[in-house]
Symmetry: C3
Subunit: 315 residues, 3 copies
């Protein structure tokens, strides 16, 4: 594997999931693979789970892992081609990526969308420039439109905890006070559409996701209907795709509560975290026995390790 | 050892001190202990000595050490239970701690007090929530009311450099311009009260420490009297316990000078650092031959390593 | 080697260059040298290349590398001797350096000049205090007046890519919007003056460098004349030495373009990076086949590794 940015970069999704679960049982079985190999984790935005789980995954594989908060420790990056750099930016992404590619064998990069210009965000301009100019394999640590390590960990979690061959998985929109990217729901949707699950998306009118990611899913504005008989409920806020980045007021009653779990199949509740308590998800859910959010976060290590292992094998 | 937050977590203080001094002679003797074990050092506040010495201690034991300045690199933390998170905080400490516990075998955490609400600070709310929700052994890297790795290093230093069986140790208040926590003096006091030393505390009226920490110490407002025949002088500023966080003006003459060393037993001068020169401690002391502050800071490695070793042995 | 701050710290420049090129072919040949040795990289300013390449160099040699952005993660440093520290600074450089020297075997330190007080900057006050008080070997990661790891990498690159025994090397000033230090051009000049190259410096009137660094170079204000028959062109902006830190307006036509390459010997174009595109260097140069800036940055690893190897050998 030379690139891990979406489900489309994966030849065999099911086998990648199995690899992750195998590594969970045998974390150090491939420690020799990463000897004398360097992983560079480059952050343009904050991170907790992705940073620590991927750092650990690389170390488990015997890699030397270097973390750079490029926005804080390095130089202000220019992203536009052709820019006359007489303003506040100090280094062009072409040089930054090119230089980092000299020092490391695999790069992970996180870059959130601006949520101002949909075309720019959905063209994955920043992430793709990193890929183009660094010249080494790249793992997305969340880009403008996708968060594939999260989605792989989510699928690993569902595979690990499901109690029937084809569980019902529901992605439900949740309230928030800020405009959040569509990266996590886009990514979750495209991975679920490739998995052997019965997949439903529910959200208020106006929060339709880009259909490129949801093809194959059942989509409804009726949350109650969607949740009926659910085995897994994935809770997440996102801002509108059209008009891009818009937050419509209201819909506070979309927050998941224990009451809403009643018609489900004692559904397990998932969230990528960080989660705003009592806004996106109630205390009673997060502190109750249906929540698997901490377990899910733990699986981030094995998802990252499976991807890094496949990359190391092709270096 | 599952928790290291105060002297009360230590069964045998003297044996822990000996362990530290043994490790100082044999830094890599237990390098196998930490193989495939991960130490996560989580900072909510700045650090130099604690960060670097504990990172080195973990590495000496063969651990994989990951450092996270969670306030800068991660997400703004919510600390209150039941909060409706519709403001500036992005992640609740329950999730942050719980997730980190999935990734590491031992957590070190630093969280300073707010110095606004004594009950909240002295209940060790933040530190205790970390302990409760992370589910793995925790080392305090300084909490609201204690700095136990510093105090252990201090005791190690006294044990190493003392020239009589039961030295006289004096903790003396020093001037400052800011309101500082009571964590270091509280902690030093409770460790000295458990050690085989003749322990005196001296400070201006109004700077009485919480008696929970000073039980067994001689306490006086007369600095000259306190310093007489001292073998070790521990210099530190702190703000008042009552009214909480108060700084009373004046007392600049409490700064230690060479003159004040005259009636001592050629006392060695200690400080946890960072120290404000010519405010807390004069240049002449810090640059003179009585100062052992750098040597004392060096012992932070062995104190941390002794604690981590005992934790690794019980994993 | 106990100190690496300028070309004057190197006994045999040519042999150090050969060492670097040898390490480029055999990165892990000396991995045993750094076992149980710690490298502390201390930054008072931003860094990308220096940070990551030196971190990798240390790891290649088997060292434990710890990075500290002391200005952001540690305490605000006081640099003045005799200061009464009742203001914003929390820790004196004497203690910070002294303590770090307790924890690590070799220190790298980066500290940019203030560009306000030439005497202070050119006395290398901050860097020299670090050296004096830390008590262990120190590598400059760029100080007020020099950037020796960059210059060594530059010389390694010229040695590696030259097509004649004594190439013509031209350092040409380039436009910028900010006042930049003279560290890189000073350092490049003093290294070139010690190397077996035909060395010319060109800049507009007013940008004369301190002659301590340029002794032996041909200096001209005529850029066209300087570039004729050049084999390597080193592009860099700097502010004036007299009046210190001054930026004179104009001179935008000093930016290197493909047209200016015509009278050269198909010169290879170098820059230390970060570079402001279309201000210091045109897109057409940076994206063309004459640019070797990425390759040059890659050589930073081997320069750092050669220096660290020589230091480890004398520990």
């Amino acid at each position: 594997m030379k690139l891990f940015s979406s489900v489309n970069d994966v030849v065999d999704v099911q086998s990648l999931v199995k690899e992750a679960l195998h590594l969970k049982q045998n974390p150090y079985a491939y420690e020799h693979l990463g000897k004398h190999k360097t992983l560079g984790l480059i952050f343009l935005n904050p991170s907790l789970r992705t940073r620590i789980s991927t750092q650990k995954a690389g170390t488990n594989l015997g890699m030397n892992v270097m973390v750079l908060n490029i926005d804080k420790e390095g130089w202000a990056l220019e992203l536009q081609d052709g820019a006359i750099m007489n303003g506040g930016t100090v280094e062009h992404i072409r040089e930054a990526a090119g230089v980092l590619g000299q020092y490391v064998d695999i790069i992970g990069v996180r870059s959130f969308p601006g949520l101002k210009n949909r075309d720019a965000d959905y063209s994955e301009d920043v992430f793709n420039k990193f890929v183009k100019y660094c010249g080494v394999p790249v793992v997305s640590l969340e880009s403008a439109t996708r968060h594939p390590l999260q989605s792989l960990a989510d699928l690993v979690t569902i595979e690990e905890l499901k109690t029937k061959a084809r569980p019902k998985v529901v992605l439900t929109w949740a309230p928030h006070v800020k405009a959040l990217p569509q990266a996590v729901p886009n990514s979750f949707a495209e991975w679920m559409c490739r998995a052997d699950v019965d997949f439903t998306i529910t959200h208020p009118e106006g929060y339709e996701l880009c259909t490129d990611f949801t093809n194959g899913a059942t989509i409804t504005h009726n949350q109650d209907e969607a949740l009926a008989d659910a085995d897994f409920i994935y809770v997440k806020n996102w801002s509108a795709y059209e008009p891009y980045g818009k937050v419509f007021g209201g819909y506070e009653d979309w927050m998941l509560t224990n009451d809403k779990l009643k018609p489900t199949n004692n559904a397990k509740v998932m969230h990528c975290l960080p989660v705003r308590r009592n806004l996106e998800l109630s205390d009673e859910i997060l502190d109750g026995q249906n929540s698997i959010v901490i377990h899910e976060a733990g699986n981030r290590v094995w998802a990252a390790q499976a991807v890094l292992k496949q990359m190391l094998e092709t270096l």
